[in-house]
């Protein structure tokens, strides 16, 4: 037997228990801030320190707009009373543009990944999805280079001006039914780059997005959750202010 085959067998199974069960390993997610009750002074401090206006105070409650959080941790490391922070990773949210998605596919889907100006980390986390730890092939997810074969368009990056034409052409080339997953805060709100003469405020300005995944970058499990939502195999979560919080358990 080839030494590589033996090596492969020796390595054993590394694959995550998710989505059947929760993933418990350390370091798989950077987590997200969550809305909480706080006294006014501490809440003000959070509003003041956050560079991307994630926090708002509504009726004495600190509300969080996760679509803008760029993981600078200043609301945790730069204040006396840190913001509440949850180490969840199920972050796939139904887009406001398209509520109540009906399932469009069954079983296997092909994913076309497009970089609309990302910093490299979102794309790197998408790359990890094919590594043994996440191995999305076991779930019937395949990455395809061509939009013609794709069911789902996975977009990362803020949607740079130079990429917007290519992005629209790729979207149009995908046969219907199709779903668009926007991963990463840059894709959702432009992140630190928007709005300027080179960047729109996220690809949501350019394409009809179905599923949104926040995070800067969203970890592989969060992107995976977003794909599962797009495939109709997991319910979307609600990370928006005021409503009940999502938790990261199994199906």
């Amino acid at each position: 037997m080839s030494p590589w085959v033996i090596k492969g067998i020796r390595t054993g199974i590394k694959t995550s228990a998710y989505p059947r069960n929760a993933e418990t390993a350390a370091g798989v997610t950077p987590g997200l801030p969550v809305s909480s009750q706080m006294d006014t002074g501490a809440a003000r401090a959070l509003v003041d320190i956050c560079p991307t206006q994630v926090f708002t105070i509504i009726n004495g409650r600190v509300n969080v707009d996760v679509d803008r959080c760029i993981h600078c941790y200043r609301c945790v490391r730069g204040v006396e009373q840190p913001a509440r922070w949850d180490s969840t990773y199920e972050w796939g949210v139904e887009s406001n543009q398209k509520k109540n998605l009906l399932p469009a596919f069954r079983k296997s889907i092909n994913i076309c990944v497009v970089d609309a100006g990302d910093c490299g980390s979102c794309l790197n986390e998408v790359r990890q999805l094919s590594s043994p730890y996440y191995n999305i092939h076991r779930l019937g997810f395949f990455i395809t280079p061509t939009p013609r074969h794709a069911d789902v368009l996975l977009v990362v990056g803020p949607g740079t001006d130079h990429m917007s034409l290519a992005l629209q052409k790729i979207y149009n080339a995908i046969p219907t039914p199709k779903r668009v997953v926007a991963a990463g805060v840059c894709a959702l709100s432009g992140g630190v780059f928007a709005e300027s003469f080179t960047c729109s405020e996220g690809v949501t300005d350019i394409l009809p997005v179905d599923v949104e995944v926040p995070g800067n970058p969203p970890p592989p499990l969060a992107i995976l959750h977003g794909l599962l939502v797009a495939a109709g195999r997991k319910p979307p979560v609600d990370l928006q202010p005021g409503s009940s919080q999502a938790n990261a358990t199994g199906e």
Binding site: G31, C72, Y73, S130, M163, A166, F197
Partner: protein
């Protein structure tokens, strides 16, 4: 500083250039007349063996100021060549016929400021794509407002890909910007007559986010967010270069513990990034088990980073003046132990790859870059070191206390894909070796020192995982950024990449791309 450089300048360039030497920062500033600019830069680059780092254009109230930054090997410092012209004059001599490494820097300056570099062989269609933007848009000029409507541009319909080779039967194969599985957006023009690529031209800046423009007018700690996030696979390195520039400009000292932890994290990032690069090389040769193995190591290191700092790409650690978060010694030791375990497996992987002939066949003598060519293009990082250009800023211009650590700068002679892979593996070992030393001698105390912002400008530099990165920052008296310029390593390496590709077969192209470990995000800024 090389002995007597100041005297040599005085003697050789009497009447053409004035020299000012600053002992503290080991910096020699040469103010030079425009007429002798090219020859003087050529003299530094060719005769005196200085490396070209960066070209910084600044639009001062009444004049243009161009600053060509050079640096020497170990023991010799920095040389800034300054040239200026009235705002109404927009022409400078091109230095590229002597300093080929400055080629893309001049193209950038032409595109961003509307300056003309006389004698440059090819200006235009670079950052601003000609098929997307009208002429005479100079985004980095002060009068250009970055907040203005996005769709300000008027596309010209008649853009066509360039053809260089006029041989009969030659055709241009356009690839990208979306071209494969999970890849960054970039466009390639591959000119071919069949089997071999005879001419290669990358068309970059599809991902241009103009961070240098949007940084202007923002406080330094907000610009740090951009520095970390424009190329986040090496976020810590770029954040560090930016912080060091701000700290130098404000003459701020950082606590010794912060310096130690910065080195620890920078090496952890290098180890992780190199594991990722090794993964891509294995994948490009379709060696599935090795690619999976390396993928496991990369994810292991991402998890180690995430567990240690909260973030898998080390965001939110840096602050001008130190670090935002102190890491307990014990956590560092645990991260080190885990990294050592990963390194051991990486070593095993290397041993097995070295005897896999089908793998070696695809890397050896592929994507060859000669030493002289690597030096002329100013290639950086592992790519240059694999072609026997063994520069490393950690050794030659130490920062953050690197001078107290013992480590080697691995280099190879062959300049092919396999040499680049070997350099990556060797550097992984050196990184862990440095991490061990930092943990063993971690100073106590705090990690953040506040300082008073002041007016000034400075260069910050690091040896990022992909090579030397130079960040130039000018601050006003409130500590707000008025000019920010980044020369990332991928900018230099994309410039030279065509040398590796040309006259090689099409099917080797993905392998050569992987062995160069190029980041588009870093280049496109």
């Amino acid at each position: 500083m090389e002995l007597g450089l100041k005297e040599q300048v005085k003697e050789r360039w009497a009447g053409h250039a004035k020299c000012r030497y600053d002992d503290r920062s080991d910096l020699c500033e040469i103010t030079c007349a425009r007429a002798s600019l090219a020859e003087l830069c050529g003299w530094l680059f060719i005769d005196k063996d200085f490396n070209f780092a960066n070209l910084i254009v600044e639009e001062m109230p009444a004049a243009w100021r161009l600053r060509y930054i050079f640096y020497g090997g170990a023991g010799s410092g920095w040389v800034h060549v300054l040239a200026s012209a009235l705002c109404s004059e927009e022409t400078f001599p091109s230095i590229v016929k002597f300093v080929h490494a400055a080629d893309w820097h001049e193209r950038e300056a032409e595109d961003m400021f509307g300056l003309t570099f006389e004698g440059h062989p090819r200006l235009g269609d670079f950052i601003l794509h000609d098929d997307a933007w009208q002429e005479n848009v100079d985004p980095m000029r002060h009068h250009f407002d970055p907040q203005m409507a996005i769709r300000y541009r008027k596309p010209a319909a008649d853009w066509r890909p360039r053809r260089i080779v006029q041989e009969s039967g030659a055709f241009v194969m356009p690839v990208g910007p979306k071209y494969s599985g999970v890849t960054e957006s970039v466009h390639f023009l591959l000119e071919t007559v069949g089997e071999d690529v005879i001419r290669f031209m990358p068309r970059l800046f599809y991902k241009w986010r103009a961070i240098e423009k949007i940084a202007e007018g923002k406080p330094a700690d907000e610009v740090l967010l951009l520095a970390e996030r424009f190329a986040a696979t090496t976020a810590f390195a770029h954040g560090l270069a930016f912080c060091q520039a701000v700290e130098t400009a404000c003459a701020a000292d950082i606590p010794p513990r912060a310096a130690g932890l910065r080195v620890f994290l920078a090496e952890l990032e290098r180890l992780r990034q190199h594991a990722g690069a090794i993964q891509e090389i294995c994948e490009s040769t379709a060696l599935a088990v090795a690619a999976s193995e390396a993928g496991i190591f990369e994810e292991d290191l991402l998890r180690i980073s995430g567990e240690l700092t909260g973030h898998r790409y080390l965001f939110g650690m840096l602050a001008p003046g130190g670090l935002l978060l102190d890491l307990p010694d014990n956590d560092c030791r645990q991260a080190l132990n885990k990294s050592q375990a990963v390194l051991k497996q990486l070593d095993n992987l290397e041993t097995e790859l070295r005897v896999s002939s089908s793998f070696l066949d695809r890397l050896e003598e592929v994507g060859y870059v000669q030493q002289q060519v690597a030096a002329a293009y100013g290639l950086l990082g592992p790519v240059a070191r694999a072609s026997a250009v063994a520069h490393d800023l950690r050794r030659e211009q130490p920062y953050s206390g690197y001078s107290q650590f013992r480590f080697e700068v691995p280099s190879e002679q062959e300049g092919d894909g396999y040499a680049r892979l070997r350099v990556l593996f060797s550097e992984c070992r050196q990184s862990v070796h440095i991490m061990e030393q930092t943990v063993a001698a971690m100073p106590g105390g705090g990690v953040l020192e506040s300082f008073k912002p002041r007016e000034g400008a400075a260069l910050g530099w690091v040896e990022a995982p992909r090579g030397a990165a130079f960040h130039w920052v000018r601050l006003d008296e409130r500590g707000f950024v008025t000019r920010y310029h980044v020369a990332p390593p991928s900018f230099a390496n994309w410039h030279g990449f065509h040398v590796a590709v040309e006259n090689f077969a099409f099917q080797d192209f993905p392998i050569m791309l992987a062995t160069f470990d190029l980041s588009v995000a870093e280049n496109d800024r």
